[in-house]
Symmetry: C2
Subunit: 195 residues, 2 copies
DNA sequence: GTGCGATTTTACAATGAGTGTAATTTTGAG
DNA sequence: CTCAAAATTACACTCATTGTAAAATCGCAC
């Protein structure tokens, strides 16, 4: 059998990671310079030293360049909720889960990507889908963690908490991240005194 | 000056309305039959008896065929909120505004369109944008109607109420509209006891 | 280090949405 | 009827995305 070295990284893995990195960096630069829609895949491929066809070997679509950085967020969110104590209210648990995740945030890069996303209707729309996925992850985790609560109530809790996260991120991006995201999140949750 | 007959409908207006109707109907039929993505604009144009180029004289994009039916909803929503008495809480006002608008709903057609929208990622995403527009409309109306409340609180109120509408529509579509949308909406709002 | 199979890259061609342009037809007001 | 505006069309183009198949590269076995 083939011996896989999951700790060591072969030349293949390294080149793949490097190319991925190269595509992401040049695309981000081009998006910031010329705008998302105005940047063609040909331009990205050129800037990354690959052919246009090869681009699709790395990303499913142009959009995915920006989506990739937040892949796995729903799962991390779910796990964070599951780590919370079931003694507190679900809404408090989700707020705490949020705060726990935010410590791993690269604020500078997040702001750059956020600005690009807000510049295009297409990207704004697909970004909303990300919140929907977070909401679903939260809902499922809440149902597991608080089985005595009704699904209807937990669905509303998930909607409300992820909505608060969205409002916090919006406010944070609006002022270019002057105050930390945590502050905005805390503020948004102040007005959520559900049940 | 040119005398415009806004009451009478000229041949031009009638033909335009008829063609619009024809495009919408044949597109909906094709979407329901073959699916949204699998239906090309050529097919829609053929089925509507127009050229592909003419299609774009009626709709900005393929998506817009489905978006058109809910155009003006944000404005109607804003107006409905402004009609509510400022004596009740903002959240109650928005709930009542929702209920008022729902009486004008064509449930059968809404379900057909809803099913198409849920069948495509692209459509689901742009549908989320509609909720965002509703949320903005609600927020602006609330700020006008309850100037003594803070904008932060009203922003959360708008988010929460439109979110409840979304959950209600989801649940309603999930069970193919067996119970009226109003019931689902009332249920969703039960869990919103903000402040 | 050679060879072989798997992975990666590429060229080429095609589909389908959307846009610009300019020509042609239809409508309606005078 | 006559002419300007509105509506329709053909044609050609850009761009994202996908299919196919050939070519290049890698890494393990020998």
């Amino acid at each position: 059998m083939i011996q896989h070295r999951s700790d060591q990284e072969g030349l293949r893995q390294r080149k793949r990671r490097e190319t991925l990195q190269r595509i992401t960096e040049s695309a981000l630069r081009l998006f910031a310079d010329r705008g998302y829609e105005a940047t063609t895949l040909d331009a990205i491929a050129d800037a990354s030293g690959i052919s246009r066809r090869t681009f699709f070997y790395y990303f499913k679509s142009k959009e995915e360049i920006l989506a990739a950085w937040q892949k796995g967020l729903p799962e991390a969110f779910r796990a964070a909720i599951m780590r919370e104590s079931p003694d507190q209210s679900p809404i408090d648990a989700v707020r705490n889960a949020h705060l726990g995740l935010l410590t791993h945030y690269d604020a500078a890069r997040a702001l750059i990507i956020d600005r690009i996303i807000r510049s295009s209707d297409l990207l704004r729309a697909s970004n909303q889908m990300k919140y929907l996925e977070l909401e679903r992850a939260a809902f499922e985790a809440l149902c597991e963690r608080w089985p005595q609560k009704t699904r209807e109530e937990l669905r509303v809790t998930a909607m409300v908490s992820v909505g608060a996260l969205r409002l916090a991120i919006d406010a944070w991006a609006e002022e270019d991240g002057r105050r930390p995201l945590e502050d905005h999140l805390a503020e948004a949750f102040v007005h959520l005194k559900i049940k």
